[in-house]
């Protein structure tokens, strides 16, 4: 019997809203069947500041995606970003109870419960409990059950956010008549897409440079060991260019995309670029090096901000990371890898979405939405959506037909 589920991935970004519709067939295959993109309004630095405007553009994108797919999503996986997100690490240790020092399932359960039991401040709610590896008597292991030892330790990387901010984004999806199946932090979703298992084991820092903010996540030994958000993104470069070159935001954005480069090139010091390029009123020549200097300054600041983070800096000092991967819309900037390598002192590459996605979705703009779909496909707790996954095509077809 063929079972399938239609899931939606929604990323409400600062510059655009991306919606992908995927069909999970027999819990084994993920087909991406629909896509909708709309320019974003009412969102600043990844957070919703105008509910109605944000709802308008999000619903337009969902509607476009559902129309292109020809089906209605059963549930939605929603990306979460913004400076309200905070993280902390919490670990716990238990003594193995049995007299023969064999770790039983009850020991593991007790340990996990203990490690997750940290109280949160008011108006905060957990988005992810990300478990790191177990340590049995000081030795890292994947699964301690049936092993012999005295002390069992585990750590959780916890990501939590403001209840108010999360409610706003959830209610936007609810306003379209859809339920949010899971909230996923943007950096985790995109990080999973643009890195390989080997990279994550070796240690990799993923920077998802969006328009309003930059989400980053740090993988080490295959686990998430740190994540965060910096309120600097591509729009800041545009804004800098607009102020520095005395032009409007639209032309500044064009200048950034067409002629922008994150590194300084002494030999192109005298190069000029046209602001508009069609010799209309207002068109004028601008020094290319001026454009690059402005971009370089802002990107340098961003990278140094992240490198200087108290959790990340020691890893660079101890050479515990192997590479840095850039993704997100602003990562398309020319020369950004060179600047990154200079700041981080590590190989920096532009992330690429997996080869199994269609060429339309290969751009880093879609890595977060793809990561959401991938999360819905492979990382979900089975017990949470067994009921829906067991729907046959017939039942789903009837529901689609009747519009429920």
């Amino acid at each position: 019997m063929v079972t399938s589920k239609i899931i939606g991935a929604v990323e409400i970004g600062t510059s655009k809203v991306v919606v992908l519709i995927g069909e999970i067939v027999n819990e084994k295959t993920l087909n991406i069947v629909g896509m909708g993109v709309s320019s974003s309004r009412g969102v600043k630095k990844g957070e919703i500041i105008d509910f109605n405007a944000a709802s308008d553009c999000t619903h337009a994108a969902i509607m476009a995606a559902e129309e292109s797919a020809g089906v209605r999503a059963d549930a939605v996986y929603l990306a979460q970003s913004g400076c309200h997100l905070e993280t902390f690490f919490n670990d716990a240790e238990v003594t193995v109870k049995s007299s023969d020092n064999i770790v039983h399932r009850s020991d593991v359960r007790r340990l996990l419960s203990e490690a997750k039991s940290k109280q949160l401040p008011e108006y905060r709610a957990i988005i992810h409990h990300i478990r790191n590896g177990f340590i049995l008597d000081g030795m890292p292991i994947d699964d301690p059950e049936h092993m012999e030892g005295h002390k069992l330790r585990v750590g959780y990387w916890n990501i939590h956010g403001s209840v108010q901010k999360m409610s706003d984004s959830i209610h936007i999806i609810n306003g379209f008549g859809l339920q949010v199946e899971d909230l996923i932090v943007s950096s985790l979703a995109s990080g999973k897409m643009v890195t390989t298992d080997e990279e994550r084991k070796a240690g990799v820092l993923v920077l998802d440079i969006g328009s309003g903010s930059t989400d980053f996540v740090l993988f080490k030994n295959g686990y998430v060991v740190y994540s965060g958000v910096v309120a600097v993104g591509g729009d800041h470069i545009t804004n800098d260019l607009s102020i520095g070159l005395r032009t409007n935001a639209k032309l500044a954005e064009m200048l950034k995309v067409k002629n922008g480069k994150a590194t300084l090139e002494p030999k192109s010091k005298n190069d000029k670029v046209m602001l508009i390029g069609d010799l209309t009123i207002g068109d004028r020549s601008i020094s290319r090096s001026a454009v690059c200097q402005i971009i370089n300054a802002r990107m340098d600041e961003l990278f140094k901000l992240i490198r200087g983070d108290k959790h990340i800096a020691p890893l660079f000092s101890n050479r515990e990371l192997a590479s840095v991967v850039l993704t997100g819309g602003a990562s398309k900037l020319n020369g950004i890898e060179d600047l990154g390598e200079k700041v981080f002192g590590l190989p920096v590459i532009k992330g690429e979405n997996p080869s199994w996605v269609a060429s339309d979705l290969a751009s880093p703009d879609f890595s977060t939405a793809l990561g959401l779909l991938y999360f819905g496909f492979s990382y979900k707790d089975e017990s949470q959506f067994t009921e829906q996954r067991k729907q046959t095509k017939l039942i789903r077809g009837m529901k689609q037909l009747l519009g429920f």
Binding site: Y123, A125, M166, G175
Partner: protein
């Protein structure tokens, strides 16, 4: 946004944030989507309803209007018609009324139409038709037998005689012999209702017929003198076991019967008549048997019998 402190303080997972999918749509797109879903739901509901209704009507039409299947003759044309009747209708008359065409195959005969055609005549109570292969059509006719005759005035003011069977059915005489009809008493005191399908049956005749049958079978001398049976006092009663039946005979002007225990009343009448002897019979003008155990006799012209000495 003001929030109740207690409502959030216990929250630990985002999954405890209440979701409100399905509530009032807030954007144009969500309104369009909801409207589309509603329209689609209505269209599908109506379509399903229409299909179900259409199939029901089709089924109803098929069940109620299907005709006899057109069957092509595979058997040879029938050569014999066997007619059996328990009444007075002669076979040629019945055959002519059937109106069968020549060289018609046995399987081509519409049995239902043929039966209806014969039962159109009120004298025929029931007709049975069978195909008896290889070449015979058998027709059985069960006729109504008259118990009373009734005189009515036709449209041209001429009186005509109709017959009434023991169930109250009124029919025109077809081929019952005159002597048989002339022996029947007249039925009086009833109203006839003429309809397109003939006269409506007369209610209560079965009681009168029962009286007449018993009289004919067990007291034939009495019955053969009966001229008119009046049903008016029986029909006017609340039920056909109340009231009384009035009979005029050649020997007694008025005999009153109760509509029950006919045999007992007839025995009393026979006794009364016998006890009066042959010549004195005509002297009785009224015998009231409706009290059953205490019959009363009224004599005409003071011709009371002499007391016993």
């Amino acid at each position: 946004m003001p929030r109740n402190k207690s409502s959030h303080s216990h929250r630990s997972s985002w999954k405890k944030i209440p979701q409100r999918a399905g509530k009032k749509p807030i954007t144009r797109e969500s309104k369009i989507m909801r409207l589309r879903r509603m329209v689609r739901f209505i269209i599908i509901s109506l379509s399903t309803g229409s299909v179900v209704l259409g199939l029901s009507l089709l089924g109803y039409y098929y069940v109620n209007t299907r005709k006899a299947p057109a069957i092509h003759a595979t058997a040879a044309s029938f050569t014999n018609i066997e007619i059996e009747t328990d009444g007075a209708l002669p076979s040629p008359w019945i055959e002519s009324r059937m109106g069968l065409e020549q060289n018609l195959g046995l399987m081509q005969i519409d049995m239902r139409a043929l039966k209806a055609e014969l039962e159109r005549f009120p004298q025929i109570k029931e007709a049975s038709i069978e195909r008896r292969f290889p070449n015979t059509l058998w027709v059985g006719v069960h006729e109504r037998f008259p118990v009373f005759r009734i005189k009515v005035k036709g449209s041209n003011a001429e009186s005509q005689i109709l017959l009434v069977d023991d169930a109250g059915f009124v029919f025109r005489n077809i081929r019952f012999p005159d002597h048989m009809i002339n022996d029947l008493p007249f039925l009086a005191g009833v109203k006839l209702y003429d309809t397109e399908k003939g006269y409506l049956p007369i209610a209560g005749v079965s009681r009168l017929a029962e009286l007449f049958h018993i009289a004919r079978r067990e007291f034939p001398k009495l019955a053969e003198n009966w001229i008119i049976v009046f049903a008016d006092q029986l029909i006017m009663a609340d039920s056909f076991t109340e009231g009384y039946i009035r009979v005029r005979s050649k020997s007694v002007k008025e005999i009153l019967f109760s509509p029950k225990e006919f045999r007992k009343q007839l025995e009393k009448l026979q006794y009364i008549i016998d006890s009066q002897g042959g010549s004195s019979v005509s002297s009785m003008s009224r015998v009231n048997l409706s009290l059953i155990d205490q019959p009363t006799v009224v004599f005409a012209n003071n011709s009371y019998p002499k007391p016993y000495q």
